[in-house]
C-alpha cells in the first residue's frame, strides 16, 4: 500500500503538463500518434522533427530522461519483431559485413521502430502525468461510450484485487507442495486458473449486488466536471506542429 500517487506508470509532479486537463492530453496524444503514422517511412528527417516535438512535451512535463527511457522499454517486444525483419524480408539485399540483409526488411524495421517509439513515447507522457482515474474521466468528458470507460475502470480497479488473490493462492500452493514434477505443476496451475475464474465470477456477482443496492439501473454516473483548466491553445499549437511535419513529409515523398 502506498500513497495517493501510486500507480506504477505515474510520475508525481506539478509541471504544466501535469496540470493540464486530461481530455486535452488524450486528444494531443491521439493527434500526435496519427501524425506519426501518416508520415511516410522513408522521410527520415520528419521522424527527427517529430522526435523533437515529442521531446518538447517530455521537457514541459519535467520527466527525467532516465524515467522516460525506462518506460519506453515497454515497446521491447516490437523491437525484437522489428530486428527480425531484415533477416526474413525479400530482396533486393544489401551486404553488411558477412550478413545479407533485405532492403525492404530494413525499411520495414525502421518503420516499426520509429513509429512505435514515438507513439509509445507520447503515451508515456500521458500516463506519467495523469492519474488513471483522470484518464478515465477525460475519456468520459470526450464523450467516449460510457460503457467502455466503465469497463476499463472496473478492469483497472479489480486487476489489483485479482492479482493479490492470485498471489495468495500461489503462496498457499507453495506452502503445501514442495518439489513438483513438471506435469504436476501444470495440473496445479490449471486448477488455479479454474479457482481464479470462479472467484472472479463470484466477486463480479457480489459487486453487481452492491451496485443494485445503491440504485444502479444500467448506467454509470459520469465523472464530475474537470478540476483542471483545459488550455487548448498551447496544446493545439503542439499538435499542429506534428501535423505540419507529417504533411510536409507526405508532400516531399
Amino acid at each position: 500500500m502506498s500513497g495517493v500517487h501510486a500507480h506504477a506508470l505515474h510520475y508525481h509532479g506539478h509541471s504544466p503538463v501535469h496540470r493540464l486537463a486530461s481530455e486535452v492530453k488524450i486528444v494531443a496524444m491521439f493527434a500526435f500518434v496519427a501524425a506519426v503514422i501518416a508520415t511516410p517511412t522513408r522521410e527520415v528527417w520528419a521522424f527527427g522533427a517529430l522526435a523533437a516535438i515529442l521531446a518538447v512535451a517530455v521537457g514541459l512535463a519535467e520527466l527525467p530522461t532516465a524515467f522516460f527511457l525506462k518506460r519506453l522499454s515497454i515497446e521491447l517486444p516490437f523491437v525484437i519483431f522489428a530486428l527480425a525483419m531484415p533477416f526474413v524480408g525479400v530482396g533486393p539485399y544489401v551486404e553488411v559485413g558477412s550478413l545479407s540483409l533485405s532492403v525492404p526488411g530494413l525499411w520495414g524495421a525502421w518503420n516499426v521502430l520509429a513509429k512505435a517509439t514515438l507513439s509509445v513515447g507520447a503515451s508515456v507522457v500521458l500516463s506519467a502525468t495523469t492519474e488513471v482515474p483522470d484518464i478515465l474521466a477525460g475519456f468520459d468528458r470526450l464523450r467516449a461510450p460510457r460503457l467502455l470507460t466503465a469497463i476499463a475502470g472496473f478492469m483497472i480497479r479489480y486487476l489489483e484485487v485479482v492479482v493479490s488473490e492470485l498471489g495468495r493462492v500461489r503462496t498457499a500452493i507453495a506452502a503445501r507442495l514442495g518439489n513438483l514434477s513438471r506435469r504436476q505443476e501444470a495440473a496445479t496451475l490449471a486448477s488455479v486458473a479454474g479457482t481464479m475464474f470462479i472467484r472472479a465470477y463470484e466477486r463480479g456477482e457480489r459487486i453487481h449486488q452492491a451496485m443494485l443496492a445503491r440504485g444502479y439501473r444500467g448506467t454509470i454516473p459520469p465523472a464530475a466536471t474537470p478540476a483542471l483548466p483545459a488550455r487548448w491553445a498551447g496544446t493545439v499549437a503542439w499538435i499542429a506542429a506534428s501535423w505540419v511535419v507529417a504533411a510536409a513529409a507526405i508532400l516531399t515523398s
Binding site: 500500500m1 502506498s2 500513497g3 495517493v4 501510486a6 500507480h7 492519474e131 488513471v132 482515474p133 478515465l136 474521466a137 475502470g153 472496473f154 483497472i156 480497479r157 479489480y158 489489483e160 484485487v161 466477486r203 457480489r206 459487486i207 449486488q209 452492491a210 451496485m211 443494485l212 443496492a213 445503491r214 440504485g215 444502479y216 439501473r217 454509470i220 454516473p221 465523472a223 464530475a224
Partner: protein, 248 residues
Amino acid sequence: MTALLEVEDLAYTYPDGTRALMGVSFSVAEGERVALLGPNGAGKTTLLLALIGIVEAQSGEVRVGGVTLEPETYPEVRRRIGVVFQDPDDQLFMPTVWRDVAFGPANLGLPAEEVESRTKEALAAVGMEEQADRAPHHLSGGEARRAAIATVLSMRPDVLVLDEPTSNLDPVGQRELAELLETLDTTQLIVTHDLPLALRLCPRSIVLNGGRVAADGPTAELLSDAALMAANRLELPYGFDPGTIAGR
C-alpha cells in the same frame, strides 16, 4: 416508538432447495441500533439481501417507512435501506472514493450540486474528505470501511444495514469503527459475530439461527444466557464477562 423497518414472516428457499429463511419477523424502531447475531449459515446475509429485494423472498413482507418492498418500489426501498456489504472491495467499485460516494445519489437522479453536497457531507461524516480523490486500492482497511459506509450515507438512508463492519480490522480499527458508528444517528441494523461490539453499540439484539429468529431482547441479557448462547453457537471471547461491563 413507531416501527421504521418491519419484517413479517419472511421466507426464502434457494433454487437448490436450501431453506435459508423460514418465517423471519422483527421490527426496528426509528433511532434504534440493533445487532443481528447468529452462527455461520444462520441466514444473516440472505436476510440482508432479502430486505432490499436482491434476493426475492417467496413469502412474507418487508416495509420501511411505510413503503412495502415489491419490484416497483425497489429503487425507493434501496434508497431507504442502505446496505454496507462485508468486503469493501465489493462495495467500492468506482475509480475514486469521491465517485463511489457520488454513485448512489447520482443514481437517484439528483441534480449535480445536490450530488456534490451529499457526497461532501457523507465523506465528512466518516472523516474521509482528505482521501476523496484516492483510488480504493490505496486505502487502508479502516479507511476502506469508512469509505464504504459513506457510499451509503450519501443516499441519506432511513436505516443503515452493516454486514460484519469490523471483520478484517485490527483491534484499533475495530474500536475506531465502533466509535464512528456511535456518532451516526441513523437507525442501524448491524450483522455481526463480534459480540463485544454488539454489547457496546446495540441495546437490543436479534439472534437468527436456522433461518428463524431464535431470540430478540436486550443484548446484555441475551449474552448472559448461557443456554441460549450455546444453543445458537454464540460464544464470547475468552475472559469476557458481559455482567461486569456496562452495556447500553
